[in-house]
Point group: D2
Chain length 262, copies 4
């Protein structure tokens, strides 16, 4: 069974990248299931019902979230009725949404877990202890378990992956919006990559227009970030469960022709 | 002129990787100048005169530092007498060491600048404004200017690179110890990669033994981090100034034979 | 010469406290000059021209700011034309506003400096080095120099006060919205208090309604903070330059009658 | 029943303050039970068995801890055998020590809970949700419940106190080492103060010698903090359960004679 994992989709440009490339990627790489991080899908901050449905329509099976989960208030209106969208499991218990997605596809039970890191982020329950408490029952229910660990610090990401090594099938990182070159099979056979990267505008800083961000760093004053425009890219990884293989993926429009290149 | 840029060298394992691979790499890739981040070279934390000299002997021309600069007190004994080792330029003025290294090699004047980020780190002077103040005079003095931006947040790293695009020759990131897959030439011709990765033990978390780090995340209690052992790797990038090209580099010992593979 | 120093004025409730008590306080304590922190004066976040003018009308001579300086965009419209409102001096050079206020009152030249801390806050230039660079010229220009250090960490606040001890007349802290009981004359005769407290709603958390803040802590989800209502209080300190004396001040409306009590 | 609550005891100077004043305070104020924060009792960082026993001997009934709990490794040797010393309850489950102290004194069952904050601190389980889960059973077991909330942010401290208002008898804050002037009875009758202050050297920054701390702020370089010397002070509060009254307490040695003054 083959999984396409897509890094944080940033705004309209990110959604355009998915629309443009996803169908072909699914066919070309024989993809069975698509997971994408959607925390920046609506204007760069959060998600809406409309945007989520647009992304599901393109072929995404499961959307994960992160620190921007609640940025667009529209999410409160549909998160409890949408089992295909999950938010970090180690958010406080009892709040809207769920942290685990369970899917039956091609006869296999697939479970996706979303976790959020603690280092350099708002405080949440320990991702290590929360997943530890759930791991046995998840594995009893599922044929394949994948974890999106939405975190900043590389040390925390690899630590969680090593902690889960041999207990889940695949751990992939999101949030930094920069793809790492460390896709690998860990010693106990769990597939891992520290960060998938992002999908959105090529000429950008993490998907947003550079000018305002640079100005913010120079002046220390708040600036309004805008979603980048122009040529787009799609970043992520392909996890082949059968071969136990994980391969990074980067597709970019040509700046001039805006034609796809792999 | 060709530059080999080496990510944070972590402890004895990292130094062994340099000893094992550097000479061949220099020859194979026709390297003229070698820059490496040395902030973790002595036992994982800081550097000593002895360790610095060991690394210079292997063929490193310039050592840069970062947030671990002062972790080993031995540095105070030699930093002011060692122009080949630089620490972040945006540290407070008047303190030991220097933030700019100036080298004459193969008839070219090479200037290396070390900067440290502000996001998720101890407060320092703005790397943006500090480099901005120095950029003109640096370019008048040098044929080639390279910047090691030792920072955590990807957004800050890319913002600085875009700010310096067209003003320096190459900006490379260090500190996260995980190599990114975004080596590229920016629109105004500055070469860039968000992080070089690290050099040290393969079976490790950022160069340190996994067990204590995982335990720390599980318990919240301090644990003593130890430098990893076993097979080693060397990570970095090759920057070819003449061709304006930057290529990531990863070499890893085979776990069994400990023989080199590219 | 006697100074009334007023802690962060929070929203409408805080402004009402100033309107209600300031005139009487000036008369009763023979106040010559009034400084108040205005970073939360407009709806709890930032300040507007209208709100600033309202506060000046009540008898405030100088408004200082802090981390909420730019929260209300209206400030950009008037900050450069209003010398009575100052924002932290260690913000980036070249941005709107000024960090030093200079006032001639009752024949004395009074200089007020606003600084912001680095610990647990967005990065700014070092308040220690920025004030150090200015201290000589400030003292040449002024009869009396006062510093509002808007900072979170008590250690940083006291360190700055001790660093400035004997170099300025008075250092007072703002930002935590909770008054400290450590008003004192430091060994070299500088008057000091770690935090003035705040002016605003009594039944509140730092001036804002408790319910939403508690909910945020319980759920980790963003909530909309609202300015508190009901009985108000005014907190601050009186600094008597002639006697070199600093005394904390707290006035609170009676919950039932809303009559003043000292 | 009357409680003496003592702020963070910092090093030898802090212990001397306890030795010098505690016995008289107990007699003078008719104290039944003494709680003190001991996280800085041994050389400013952590605690040892010897130091804890010294403090119990002076008349302290219960020692609470905080972010410095594990700084001195000697604590691992005795924490599990010493029910009078508690560390934050919202540390990870299963680690050494306990977060709740239960005491029978003068015929009353007293329960002391230690919690640590999340804002500007290492991540821990939510103090709000952890105490919420325990509150019912604690109240069934105890006549009087007191909470030491060891936290940095005033907003988090007051939020927890308001959340616990009417559910426990007294919430007092520690950690900032600066006493606040907000001792009060909350609307639902819980006694509260944001911070007790500290016990230790008068001429100091939070109990440590000023020079090294100022140098650290000026240079950004690590310096070795030393416990302050000279005249000492003891800070805290008296909570009179019967009268439902909380009063701040500050005693300071005269700098010259080192004689006590209230
Ligand atoms: Fe994120
Ligand atoms: Fe994101
Ligand atoms: Fe680093
Ligand atoms: Fe490093
Ligand atoms: Fe503030
Ligand atoms: Fe404020
Ligand atoms: Fe503490
Ligand atoms: Fe403390």
């Amino acid at each position: 069974m083959n999984f396409l994992l897509i890094g944080d989709i940033v705004g309209r440009a990110g959604r355009r990248a998915v629309r443009k490339y996803l169908e072909d990627l699914i066919e070309k790489h024989d993809i069975d299931f698509v997971i994408a991080n959607g925390e920046n899908a609506a204007g760069g901050f959060g998600i809406t019902k409309k945007v989520a449905e647009e992304l599901f329509e393109y072929g995404i099976d499961c959307l994960t979230m992160g620190n921007h989960t609640w940025k667009n208030k529209n999410i409160y209106k549909f998160i409890d009725d949408e089992p295909r969208l999950i938010r970090p499991l180690n958010f406080a218990p009892g709040i809207p949404g769920r942290g685990i997605g369970s899917f039956l596809k091609n006869g296999r039970r697939i479970i996706v877990v979303n976790l959020i890191g603690q280092i350099f982020m708002q405080s949440h329950d320990s991702p290590f202890r929360v997943i530890d408490k759930n791991i046995k029952s998840l594995n009893m229910d599922a044929d394949i378990v994948l974890v999106d660990f939405h975190a900043e610090a590389t040390g925390e990401k690899i630590a969680l992956a090593r902690f889960l090594d041999g207990k889940v099938d695949c751990v992939f990182g999101t949030h930094t919006h920069v793809q790492t070159s460390d896709a690998q099979i860990l010693p106990e056979d769990t597939a891992y990559i520290s960060d998938l990267g992002f999908s959105g505008a090529v000429e950008s800083i993490l998907g947003m227009k550079p000018q305002e961000i640079i100005k913010k760093h120079l002046t220390g004053m708040p600036t309004k970030f805008k979603v980048g425009t122009g040529a787009v890219k799609l970043e992520g990884a392909i996890y082949r469960h059968g071969q136990n293989q994980i391969t990074p993926l980067r597709i970019k429009e040509d700046q001039e022709t805006r034609e796809a290149e792999v």
